[in-house]
C-alpha cells in the first residue's frame, strides 16, 4: 500500500512536468496550427534561465590570497561574489541561494520575449506551409538553440540547487498513519507539483474567464470569422505563443533543481511530450494535462520492483506501449477532436 502511494506521488510529480510541456505544445498547436519541435528547446532555455541567473548573482571579483596556493603552486585567486560584497555575507549568500525561485521572475519576461521573437521572426512564415516543413524548420531551430547553449555553457550538466530551506524531504507516511520512513518525499518535488497545478489552472482560467481568452478560443474554433469581426486575431495568437513559451520556460526553471540542466535535456523531453500530446488528443488542452499525469503515474508504477519482476524491461517501453494501446482503442487519443492532424 505504502509503495503504491509512493509511486502515485512520483507519478504526479513526473506527470506535472509532462503536463506543463504538453500544455505549451498544445497551446501552440491549437491556436496557430504549428507543430513545434523546438518546444523541448524552450523548456531547456527555461532551465538555463535559472542557470544564468545563478551565474549573474554569483558574478565575482577576484582577490589574490597569498596565504593559499592553487594547484600549480601559484597564489590562490579567491572569487567573491559582488552581492556578498554589497549585502554582507549572510544576505548575499541567501540571495544566491534563492536564485532558482528568483529565476521565475527573470524567466517570465525572457521567455515571453523569446516566444514573441520566434513567432514573429520565423513561425509566422510557416502557417501556410505543410506540417512536415514546420517540423523540419522547428527541429533545425531546436538544434541551433541547443548548440548555442552548448557553446556558452558546455555539454556537462550544471548543478542548480534549490534553496537550502527546501532541502530534505517530508515524511508523508507518518502524516497518514504509516510507520516512519515509509513514504518520504522531497519538499522541492512537492513544490513542483503544486507549482504546475497553479500554472495549469491559471492557463485554463485565463482562457475561460477573460475576454482575451474568449477571443482566442473563438479564434481556435474559427479563425476567419473572428478575423471578419474586425478582431486582430494574429496579434493575440502571437501573444499566445509567447505564453506557451513562458509556460515551457517556467516548467524548465522549476525543474532545474530536480535534474541538473544540460544542453540536450530538451531533446530528451521532446519525443515524450509529443507522445503525451498525441495520447491526449491533438489540440485538446485538458487532454494534454490528463495524458501527462496518466503517463507519469503509469511510468512510475512500471518501475516498481514487483512489476518489473513480473515483466522484465516493462519500464523501458511502458510509455510507448500505453500510447499504442490508447491510440488503437481511441482513434483520436483521449480527448482529441475529429479531423485534426488526421489527413
Amino acid at each position: 500500500m505504502d509503495a503504491i502511494i509512493l509511486q502515485i506521488l512520483n507519478g504526479l510529480d513526473k506527470g506535472s512536468a509532462y503536463a506543463l510541456i504538453a500544455l505549451g505544445l498544445t497551446l501552440i498547436f491549437g491556436t496557430l496550427g504549428v507543430v513545434n519541435f523546438a518546444h523541448g528547446a524552450l523548456f531547456m532555455l527555461g532551465s538555463f534561465c535559472a542557470v544564468t541567473l545563478q551565474r549573474l548573482l554569483s558574478l565575482s571579483f577576484t582577490v589574490v590570497d597569498p596565504t593559499k596556493k592553487d594547484f600549480l603552486g601559484n597564489p590562490l585567486k579567491v572569487d567573491t561574489p559582488y552581492v556578498v560584497d554589497w549585502f554582507g555575507d549572510a544576505a548575499g549568500n541567501a540571495i544566491i541561494n534563492w536564485s532558482v525561485p528568483l529565476a521565475i521572475l527573470f524567466a517570465i519576461p525572457v521567455m515571453l520575449f523569446i516566444g514573441y521573437a520566434m513567432e514573429r521572426g520565423l513561425i509566422k512564415h510557416f502557417y501556410k506551409r505543410p506540417h512536415a516543413d514546420q517540423i523540419l524548420v522547428t527541429f533545425g531551430l531546436a538544434i541551433v538553440i541547443q548548440e548555442i547553449v552548448k557553446y556558452f555553457y558546455g555539454a556537462n550538466p550544471i548543478p542548480t540547487p534549490a534553496p537550502a530551506a527546501f532541502k530534505g524531504s517530508l515524511d508523508f507516511g507518518v502524516m497518514i498513519g504509516f510507520a516512519e520512513n515509509t513514504i518520504i518525499y522531497p519538499y522541492w518535488r512537492l513544490i513542483y507539483f503544486v507549482f504546475s497545478a497553479v500554472i495549469v489552472s491559471a492557463v485554463f482560467a485565463f482562457l475561460r474567464f477573460t475576454t482575451f481568452g474568449m477571443v482566442v478560443r473563438a479564434g481556435m474554433a474559427d479563425r476567419e470569422t473572428v478575423g471578419l469581426l474586425g478582431i486582430n486575431i494574429d496579434k493575440r495568437f502571437t501573444i499566445m505563443f509567447g505564453m506557451a513559451a513562458a509556460v515551457a520556460g517556467l516548467a524548465g526553471v522549476m525543474y532545474a533543481p530536480i535534474n541538473s540542466p544540460n544542453y540536450h535535456m530538451g531533446m530528451d523531453f521532446l519525443v515524450l511530450s509529443f507522445v503525451v500530446v498525441v495520447v491526449g488528443g491533438m489540440g485538446s488542452l485538458p487532454g494534454a494535462v490528463l495524458a501527462g499525469f496518466l503517463l507519469g503515474i503509469l511510468e512510475s508504477f512500471a518501475s516498481m520492483n514487483e512489476v518489473k519482476s513480473l515483466i522484465p524491461g516493462i519500464d523501458q517501453i511502458i510509455i510507448y506501449l500505453v500510447a499504442i494501446i490508447i491510440l488503437l482503442t481511441r482513434p483520436r487519443g483521449l480527448m482529441g477532436r475529429k479531423g485534426v492532424m488526421e489527413e
Binding site: 507543430v35 520565423l122 512564415h125 506551409r129 505543410p130 506540417h131 512536415a132 516543413d133 517540423i135 523540419l136 524548420v137 527541429f139 533545425g140 531551430l141 531546436a142 538544434i143 541551433v144 541547443q146 548548440e147 548555442i148 557553446y151 519525443v271 509529443f274 507522445v275 498525441v278 495520447v279 491533438m282 522484465p312 524491461g313 523501458q316 517501453i317 510509455i319 510507448y320 506501449l321 500510447a323 499504442i324 491510440l327 488503437l328 482513434p331 483520436r332 487519443g333 492532424m341 488526421e342 489527413e343
Partner: protein, 402 residues
C-alpha cells in the same frame, strides 16, 4: 529501355553514370592541397552515401507518394543489420544469405508494424510508428541483449559456429570471394582515386533499387498511392479500400530500409542498437524533406548532404583552419579562425541546424527545387522571353502530413 520512357531511360543512365563515377567525382581536389579536406571519395563515406541513399529512396516511396510520415523506419534498418550479422555468426562471411534474410525479416517486421499503425493516419500514425521503433530500440539495448549484444553491438566472435566457413575463406564480409573492404587505389597526377569493392557492391544494388523505385513511381500502383496522398476520403468514397495499397507501400519501404541496414553490416560487420533510435528515424525524414520529398533524386541528394556534413565538417579542427589561412597576416588569421570556430569540428551540429532552416525557409521543395530554380535562372539569362515567371509562381507543394 527496360520498360521506361525515353526521358526516364536517359535519367536512369545519368544516375548510373553519376553513381559509378562517384569515386572520381567526389575527389575533386588533389591530395596534399588544403582543400583535400573536402574530398569525400574514400570508401566508408561513399558506401554511406549509397546505403543511406537506398534508405531514403525507400522512405520516399512511403512518404513521398502516400504522405504517411513514419517516424519508425530506423527499426527496419536495425533489423536488417542484425539479420546480416547473425548470418555471419551462423553461416559465413558471405553477405548474400544475410542480405536476403535482412529483406525478409524487415518485410515481416514492416508488415506487423504497418498493419497496426496504418489503422490510424496523420500524426497518430507517426506517433504509432515512433512508439514501435522506440520500443524496439529500448529492448534491443537492454532486455534483448542475448540477441543483439546491447550497447556494444552485435559482432562476430571467434567461437561462433560459422558452419559454411571453409578453410582459408575470407575473414571479413565478401560476396563470393569479392572482399568488401578491399580496394584499388589509382594515383593520377596528384589525385588519388580509391575504387572500393564495397562501394561498387552498394552502388550496383543502389542502381537496381533506384530502377525499381522509378518503376513504382511510374506504375498504376504509384499513381494509386499518389491519389491516396491527394485525397484519401475521395478514394474511399469510390469504393476503394486504400489500406492494402498503403500497407504495400509501407512494407516495400520497410524492405528498402532493411536492405540498407543489411548493407551497413555488409560493409562493416557490426550492428549497433543506436541504429534503431528515433534520431535515426528522424534523420531519414530530414534527408527526404531536405532533398525534396516525392521527387526521385531528392532523397538521395538529402542523404548525401547530411552524411557529408557528419563526416567531413566534424573533422575540420582549428589546426586545419590555421593551415588554410596561414598565408594571411597573423591577426587576420586568428580573427577568421575565431569566427569560424563555433561552426566547425565540434560545432558541426550548429552548421547543420542552420542549413536545415535556410533550406526549409528558402527552398520549400528541398534541394531539388534549388536545382530547378538555378536552372530556370540560367535559362532566363539565356532567353529573356522564357518562362521566367515560373520562379516566382512555382506550384505550391502539397502538404505532406497535414
Amino acid at each position: 529501355m527496360l520498360g521506361l520512357s525515353k526521358k526516364d531511360t536517359t535519367f536512369l543512365l545519368i544516375v548510373m553514370f553519376l553513381t559509378l563515377a562517384t569515386p572520381i567525382l567526389l575527389q575533386p581536389f588533389p591530395e596534399g592541397s588544403g582543400l583535400a579536406q573536402f574530398n569525400a571519395g574514400y570508401p566508408d563515406l561513399m558506401q554511406r552515401f549509397a546505403i543511406y541513399g537506398i534508405f531514403a529512396i525507400g522512405f520516399n516511396i512511403l512518404f513521398g507518394l502516400t504522405g504517411y510520415l513514419s517516424f519508425g523506419h530506423a527499426a527496419f534498418l536495425g533489423v536488417g543489420s542484425y539479420s546480416v550479422v547473425w548470418m555471419y555468426k551462423l553461416l559465413s562471411y558471405n553477405v548474400l544469405p544475410g542480405l536476403i534474410l535482412a529483406v525478409i525479416m524487415s518485410a515481416l517486421f514492416a508488415l506487423l508494424i504497418g498493419y497496426v499503425s496504418l489503422r490510424r493516419s496523420g500524426i497518430y500514425f507517426s506517433i504509432l510508428t515512433l512508439a514501435m521503433a522506440q520500443m524496439s530500440f529500448n529492448l534491443a539495448y537492454s532486455v534483448l541483449t542475448p540477441l543483439t549484444n546491447g550497447e556494444t553491438g552485435l559482432q562476430v566472435y571467434g567461437d561462433d559456429p560459422q558452419v559454411l566457413m571453409g578453410e582459408g575463406g575470407p575473414t571479413s564480409p565478401h560476396f563470393f570471394g569479392i572482399v568488401m573492404n578491399e580496394a584499388t587505389k589509382v594515383d593520377f597526377a596528384g589525385w588519388q582515386f580509391t575504387f572500393s569493392n564495397g562501394y561498387y557492391f552498394c552502388a550496383i544494388i543502389a542502381i537496381i533499387v533506384f530502377y525499381i523505385s522509378l518503376r513504382i513511381f511510374r506504375s498504376p500502383f504509384g499513381l494509386m498511392l499518389r491519389a491516396i496522398k491527394t485525397n484519401q476520403t475521395r478514394m474511399s468514397y469510390t469504393g476503394l479500400n486504400t489500406r492494402p495499397y498503403t500497407l504495400a507501400a509501407f512494407v516495400i519501404s520497410g524492405m528498402y530500409a532493411g536492405l540498407a541496414g543489411g548493407l551497413l553490416a555488409a560493409m562493416d560487420p557490426l550492428a549497433g542498437a543506436e541504429r534503431m533510435q528515433w534520431t535515426a528515424s528522424g534523420e531519414v525524414v530530414l534527408m527526404t524533406i531536405l532533398g525534396g520529398a516525392g521527387t526521385l533524386m531528392g532523397p538521395v541528394l538529402g542523404a548525401g548532404f547530411i552524411k557529408y556534413f557528419e563526416n567531413i565538417f566534424s573533422k575540420i579542427n582549428d589546426n586545419v583552419l590555421h593551415g588554410w589561412f596561414a598565408v594571411l597576416p597573423d591577426g587576420l588569421e586568428d580573427t577568421i579562425v575565431f569566427l569560424m570556430h563555433p561552426f566547425i569540428g565540434k560545432g558541426w551540429h550548429l552548421t547543420l541546424g542552420l542549413l536545415f532552416m535556410l533550406v526549409v525557409i528558402f527552398l520549400p521543395g528541398g534541394l531539388i527545387e534549388g536545382g530547378q530554380r538555378l536552372r530556370n535562372w540560367i535559362k532566363r539569362d539565356k532567353e529573356p522571353k522564357g518562362p521566367s515567371k515560373d520562379t516566382e509562381h512555382h506550384p505550391k507543394p502539397k502538404p505532406h502530413v497535414a
